[in-house]
């Protein structure tokens, strides 16, 4: 546990300070039933007898943190499966196009687990030069074997994950959080036009599919040539539907112009080969395909991007006024997304649902969501804290 950034004591103290004002009453000792449910929901397993005894005297907030932090020594609540099971299965569906939870551990999921474990700024997942690996990593750029082996051997991810940088492991690529992870690239930069990466990021990390942000009034000047303006010969489809997403998606997706997933290097589609290619300064051909679908469309010349959603109806996503709303490359575009209000709300709502096992639809749930968003933003975007808060809220009476 040498990589833990703060000790359980510090965490407990900080948590107590933060939550004391809004969760009055939770400072009292909790019942065994509540302690078990907190442990069930966070770790995924019932607590051991020793762990249950350790949690019961604590306040709910302290118990929640205690359940998922292993401080070694006499700590009976190791929380191993919070990282190895709960977080992994929380994150895994985001790492593949099928959104299956049965996909293997990979650099995308391991990195997010590491960031949560270390209570790091969770916004970094969309832009930072950050990566987590297990012991003695090798061949990461060309294979997922390292991460799959960690999973297959039941490695204690809380203990073994070590922070490093993508630029050190994946030389030559422009690091940009999940966008430049091998698993992310394999899932969403393969074939196509790289728009999948944007759409799935919107779904997974801003909790909005494109349909929910469709607005036909934005300027269509950056919609690429490959988008037919008259699908099936009926331009009404484009004017009423296609344009509403592509008008803002295409200028944001342009930030991925230099990325591409090189697949099937060995010629066998069933093997886990392939790597992320980054052609600095050279637009990948996939951005220029089907140019004759509408030759008067936008031609991608670089990886500059602009966020048209800063005005109009989708300004409701809550963009960071400290950022400019335009730039070059995936990292700055990811930062634009990660700094939005929608990003913070999305993460909190996802955690609530994962811990409370229901969507936050009730009035009290909404109040709790708002409070946790405030906590999330005020506490350095520490998502582990949100897990603990959600478990406390849903621990039952």
């Amino acid at each position: 546990m040498s990589t833990h950034t703060i000790s359980k004591t510090l965490a407990t103290s900080a948590l107590t300070l933060v939550l004391s004002a809004m969760l009055v009453g939770n400072a009292q000792a909790i019942t065994p039933e509540q302690a078990k449910r907190i442990h069930d929901r966070l770790v995924g397993t019932p607590p051991s007898a020793a762990c249950l005894s350790q949690l019961t005297p604590l306040s709910a907030n302290a118990a929640a943190i205690d359940a998922i932090n292993d401080t070694g020594g006499s700590d009976n609540c190791t929380g191993t499966d919070f990282y190895r099971v709960t977080l992994k299965n929380f994150i895994t569906p985001w790492t593949n196009e099928e959104q299956t939870v049965f996909a293997p551990l990979n650099d995308y999921s391991a990195t997010l687990i590491g960031i949560i474990r270390d209570e790091d700024d969770f916004r970094k997942i969309l832009y930072d030069d950050i990566l987590y690996t297990g012991p003695s990593p090798s061949g990461l750029a060309n294979s997922n074997a390292h991460y799959k082996n960690l999973e297959d051997t039941g490695a204690d991810l809380q203990a073994v994950l070590t922070a490093t940088t993508q630029s050190a492991v994946y030389p030559g690529i422009a690091p940009a959080g999940i966008f430049s992870t091998r698993a992310g690239a394999k899932a969403f930069f393969v074939d196509g036009t790289n728009r999948a990466m944007f759409r799935f990021t919107m779904m997974n990390h801003l909790c909005n599919d494109l349909e929910q942000v469709k607005d036909t009034s934005y300027a269509p000047d950056r919609i690429r040539q490959d988008v037919s303006r008259s699908p099936g010969g009926d331009s009404r489809i484009y004017m009423n539907a296609c344009i509403g997403c592509h008008n803002a998606m295409d200028p944001l997706t342009q930030s991925f112009a230099y990325y591409n997933w090189i697949k099937d290097v060995d010629g066998n589609p069933n093997t886990d080969d392939g790597f992320l290619e980054y052609t600095n300064g050279v637009v990948q051909p996939k951005n220029l395909i089907n140019a004759n679908n509408f030759e008067y469309g936008y031609v991608t010349e670089d990886d500059s991007w602009i966020n048209y959603w800063r005005t109009g109806s989708n300004s409701a996503l809550g963009w960071d006024g400290a950022l400019t709303g335009s730039g070059s490359g995936a990292s700055s575009m990811g930062q634009e997304l990660a700094h939005s209000e929608a990003f913070a709300r999305c993460q909190v709502e996802k955690v609530f649902k994962a811990v409370c096992l229901r969507a936050p639809l009730e009035t009290a749930d909404q109040t709790q969501i708002d409070a946790m968003i405030t906590t999330f933003k005020g506490n350095g975007y520490n998502l582990k804290q949100i897990f603990a808060d959600s478990a406390v809220f849903c621990m039952g009476s």
Partner: protein
């Protein structure tokens, strides 16, 4: 597309002359006069026989010479002179190595290169003055060409054939190299007018009067329930449906009611309802009709439309907008049509008719090969705005009769090669298949035999062509590569070519599909000839002749060429585009603020201030529902203008007094007219490279466009984008609370079950040293040579309790059995886990009393239910567990259904029956404990979290 210039002279078209500096390959040298002395001349009745030319099977026109100019000349000779003379004359009866022995063999049907060589070597052609050619002189001398009149006709035709040969194509058609130049002149200057627009949505109240007339007089045809429905269905009893039909089909002009299509049709006498009765019954209508000399039905509906229009308010351009002058699309200067290469076109369909059931062949070559449309207009097929025809159903097709269709066969067999060119918009990418493509352009005798077919097989173009090396159905079919997805459900230019030297080729959007993506190759590697073509087949579009293979989509242009088009010609026709285009010029002379934007010498009635500065677009009707605007360019018709720093920002295209909300692609325009970017020679500065489409509202002749600017020179109308919470209200609707409270508990999911069982049993499934067989791990998940097994994915994957299935229960049981098996078989672990249980003896010895049995219950309770002996109110009590597993302390009789007793008695019964079980066995003792362990481990105490 034509390239516009600001040349002040009138528009000119420059046909490029062909250079004829030919290194000739002379094949023989024989005297024309030899023909004169031949006895037994064939009987000539004048003119040509007109018979179908036999298929040419000799060497291709490009097979002998390596000089490109010579090749082009030979090929032009073949298509423009040789093939047409074969059809128009009987000269081939003598001047042909196959049928006669009269030199020169200028109509040799065995080898085109021989014919050409004779023509040149014998100086039969005068390249400077075709009419002075020796062969024309011979015809004028009435040499075996029939009557003097017939000879004169032949001489004229032959002169034209020579002229076309030398010019590289039919006179007046594109030459393949001509670049047409359009002169841009100032249009009539119009201020942005007030306009009336149809209210969106349901029919407005004012529409009632019109609707009443339509339902009263037009419902016999123009409803979908009519016996023969005629679209549009503007006479539907539902006013909203009728209104929508009227609006979308542009049957009413709100601005000029008399121009309404409904009125025009009545004026034309289209089923006028008053003709039968002799009057409308409305004296004022009758009087007006008499006064204006019109049909009173037309007057009646015009008055109703005027009344409707009177209820619609006008839309005026706000005073603060910075606007250009106004234009309609049709006010623009025609921009397209001249740059196509039609030098070898033998049939051309531009679909300009716009209504009716006939598609006209506008090639001007030979007998028009017109097609008849089958099906109902509006439902099975419809004409497309901006030129085109759309096939909607399998009941539609367009077909020519077999006699007319022979025009194709005759001409193509003469050349031995051909091309099918089409601008298509497939309606989907699912129609047709490789074995039976949907027919786009077709020349066949049914679904199983054809001369050629251009078709669709999902994402692929399919090209069937009957040759001497294919079957009668033109198979094997040349399919474009499936993975390349060359066919898209959007407007595409597709050309397929066949020649004796290169076989079949397919070009999509100007590109040979063999050169892009995966290699698309003709599966028929042996190039045959067209000798087997059948003259009894019929030419059709959109379906097989027997309606068996419909194709849905739009055709915007189809051309058949009797030459295999060259890549350059194909690219040229692709670049030329399709449909009618206009240079739409919006005057911005006032906005530029430069006196050179006004020229006194250019003052006309329609341009009273001599305005010279414009922003022009290339505009066209994109499809039935929208306009396309491209190439926005600033132009000054006055060469004296020298812009220096005029800012243009935030340009929008206005329509009918308002700015359409969708399609404004130039909002972000931010440029400056300056010496660097402004081309003083042409007077132009390109403003943007992108184009956009705008929804059509009233029709190309009625929709009035103008431009607005946020900033143009010193004129500003800054628009501040709205932002939620600041300048616009964006309310987010709170989620609706569920009617019933969501469950507060859920299932453990697959991996949580896996690790929870580990926690409850103490078995570490990953410990391969302790459990070398890894029975638990392999029960859960195993992977061997890519084959995955195990119950991992059979366990619940979501927490929703309502999603718990029997399959889940089975998987949980399997995993629980594996864990309990590993636990009980692990002698060290079981000793600590089940203290006091003697696993070395039989059941009777191990459990002599309830004490030992209760000890097992207690262990399971403490490890799995009441953790560490803690009583949890939401878990079963130890007594309840005891009752289920071993019965209450009172003994077996107290609860005969308990697990232990059932296991004991079932084994005893088996022992008595066949000896397959023994309660005296230590193995049975372990089995009983495993069963009790499994029943608790796999129960809801573990599953619910």
């Amino acid at each position: 597309m034509k390239i516009p210039s600001r040349i002040t002279t009138s528009a000119t078209r420059h046909a490029t002359a062909q250079p004829w500096m030919l290194p000739l390959i002379l094949l023989s040298s024989l005297a024309l006069t030899a023909c004169d002395s031949v006895p037994n001349e064939p009987t000539v009745t004048g003119g040509g026989s007109g018979s179908t030319a036999a298929a040419y099977t000799g060497e291709a026109c490009n097979a002998v010479s390596t000089d490109p100019n010579t090749v082009e000349d030979i090929c032009n000779f073949q298509t423009e002179f040789w093939a047409k003379m074969l059809d128009a004359s009987d000269c081939e009866n003598c001047h042909n190595t196959e049928t006669g022995s009269r030199e020169p063999y200028f109509l040799d049907t065995a080898e085109i290169n021989t014919a050409y060589g004779q023509m040149i070597s014998r100086n039969l052609v005068d390249r400077t003055t075709p009419a002075n050619s020796a062969i024309i002189t011979k015809i004028n001398a009435e040499h075996n060409c029939g009557t003097p009149t017939e000879c004169a006709v032949l001489a004229t035709n032959a002169t034209n054939y020579i002229t076309n040969w030398l010019n590289g194509g039919v006179a007046g058609a594109g030459t393949g190299t001509a670049v047409n130049e359009v002169t841009l002149t100032a249009p009539a200057i119009k201020e942005t007018g007030q306009s009336k627009n149809f209210p969106a949505g349901a029919a407005p109240a004012g529409f009632t009067g019109v609707h009443n007339l339509l339902t009263q007089y037009c419902a016999d045809c123009h409803t979908d329930s009519a016996s023969v429905p005629q679209a549009p269905f503007f006479a539907d009893a539902d006013a909203d449906i009728a209104y929508d039909a009227v609006v979308t089909s542009q049957k009413i002009s709100l601005d000029i009611p008399q121009d309404s299509r409904l009125v025009a049709r009545m004026d034309e006498g289209h089923n006028c309802w008053d003709l039968a009765t002799g009057g409308s019954g409305n004296s004022s209508v009758d009087q007006q009709a008499i006064l204006e000399g019109r049909k009173n039905c037309a007057v009646e509906i015009q008055l109703a439309i005027e009344a409707f229009a009177g209820t619609i308010p006008t839309t005026a351009v706000p005073a603060n907008w910075v606007t250009s002058k106004a234009m309609t699309l049709l006010d623009g200067i025609v921009a397209s049509g001249g740059a196509r290469d039609d030098s070898s076109t033998i049939a051309l369909y531009e679909f300009k008719t716009g209504s009716g059931s006939t598609i006209l062949d506008t090639s001007g070559v030979g007998v028009p090969l017109n097609l008849t449309l089958y099906g109902n207009e509006g439902t099975d097929y419809s004409w497309v705005g901006g030129w085109g025809i759309e096939f909607h159903t399998g009941s539609a097709k367009a077909q020519a009769n077999t006699q007319d269709s022979r025009k194709l066969l005759t001409s193509i067999l003469g050349s031995g090669e051909y091309s099918i060119e089409a601008w298509v918009v497939p309606a989907n990418i699912s129609q047709g298949d490789a074995n039976d493509p949907a027919r786009i352009v077709n020349y066949s005798g049914g679904s199983g035999e054809r001369n050629f077919t251009l078709g669709q097989a999902e994402y692929r173009y399919a090209y069937m062509n009957r040759t001497s090396t294919t079957d009668a159905n033109g198979e094997p079919t040349f399919l474009t590569d499936d993975a390349d997805e060359d066919l898209q459900s959007t407007q595409q230019h597709v050309v397929v070519t066949f020649s004796l030297t290169e076989g079949r080729k397919v070009y999509v959007n100007g590109v040979d599909v063999a050169t892009t993506g995966n290699a698309d190759t003709d599966p028929n590697t042996t190039i045959g000839n067209l000798t087997g073509w059948d003259p009894t087949y019929a030419f059709s579009m959109g379906n097989e002749a027997d309606f068996s293979q419909p194709w849905e989509g739009k055709l915007r242009l189809v051309a058949i060429h009797n030459r295999a088009m060259t890549p350059a010609q194909i690219q040229q026709n692709f670049d030329a585009g399709v449909g009618q285009k206009f240079f739409v010029m919006f005057s911005v002379s006032d906005e530029v603020g430069d006196p050179n934007c006004f020229l006194a010498s250019a003052i006309t009635t329609s341009n009273p201030r001599g305005e010279q500065c414009f922003v022009y677009f290339v505009g066209s009707q994109f499809d039935t529902y929208s306009y396309l605007f491209t190439d926005p360019t600033f132009i000054s018709l006055n060469p004296a203008l020298s812009p220096s720093g005029t800012v243009i920002k935030g340009m929008r295209i206005g329509m009918n007094g308002k700015e359409p909300a969708v399609g404004q692609a130039f909002i972000n325009l931010d440029t400056t007219l300056n010496a660097t970017d402004y081309d003083a020679t042409t007077g132009k500065q390109v403003l943007s490279n992108v184009g956009t489409i705008l929804s059509l509202e009233k029709g190309a002749g009625a929709d009035e466009f103008f431009l607005t600017f946020e900033d143009f020179g010193s004129n500003q109308d800054v628009r501040t984008p709205a932002v939620c919470g600041s300048t616009m209200t964006c309310t987010t609707t709170a989620p609706t609370p569920p009617a019933t409270q969501a469950p507060r508990v859920g299932l453990r999911t697959f991996e949580e079950i896996f690790v929870s069982m580990s926690e409850m049993t103490g078995v570490n499934p990953y410990d391969s040293a302790r459990y070398p067989q890894q029975k638990v791990l392999k029960t859960y998940y195993d992977e061997n040579a890519g084959i995955v097994s195990g119950i991992k994915q059979a366990l619940p994957s979501t927490e929703d309790v309502s999603g718990f299935l029997a399959a889940h229960e089975m998987a949980v049981a399997q995993l629980a059995i594996a864990y309990c098996d590993e636990l009980v078989e692990d002698t060290m672990l079981r000793a600590s886990y089940f203290p006091g249980v003697n696993f070395g003896v039989g059941v009777d010895a191990a459990f002599p009393s309830s004490t030992e049995k209760n000890q097992v219950v207690s262990t399971l309770y403490n490890k799995m239910v009441g953790i560490g002996g803690t009583t949890l109110n939401n878990m079963p009590s130890e007594a309840e567990l005891q009752t289920e597993l071993v019965g209450p302390d009172a003994g077996v009789a107290g609860h005969p259904g308990n697990l232990f007793d059932r296991l004991y008695s079932s084994c005893a019964a088996a022992a008595a029956a066949d000896g397959s079980c023994s309660n005296a066995s230590a193995t049975r003792t372990a089995g009983v404990v495993k069963a009790m362990c499994t029943s608790v481990l796999g129960s809801a105490v573990m599953m619910i979290q």
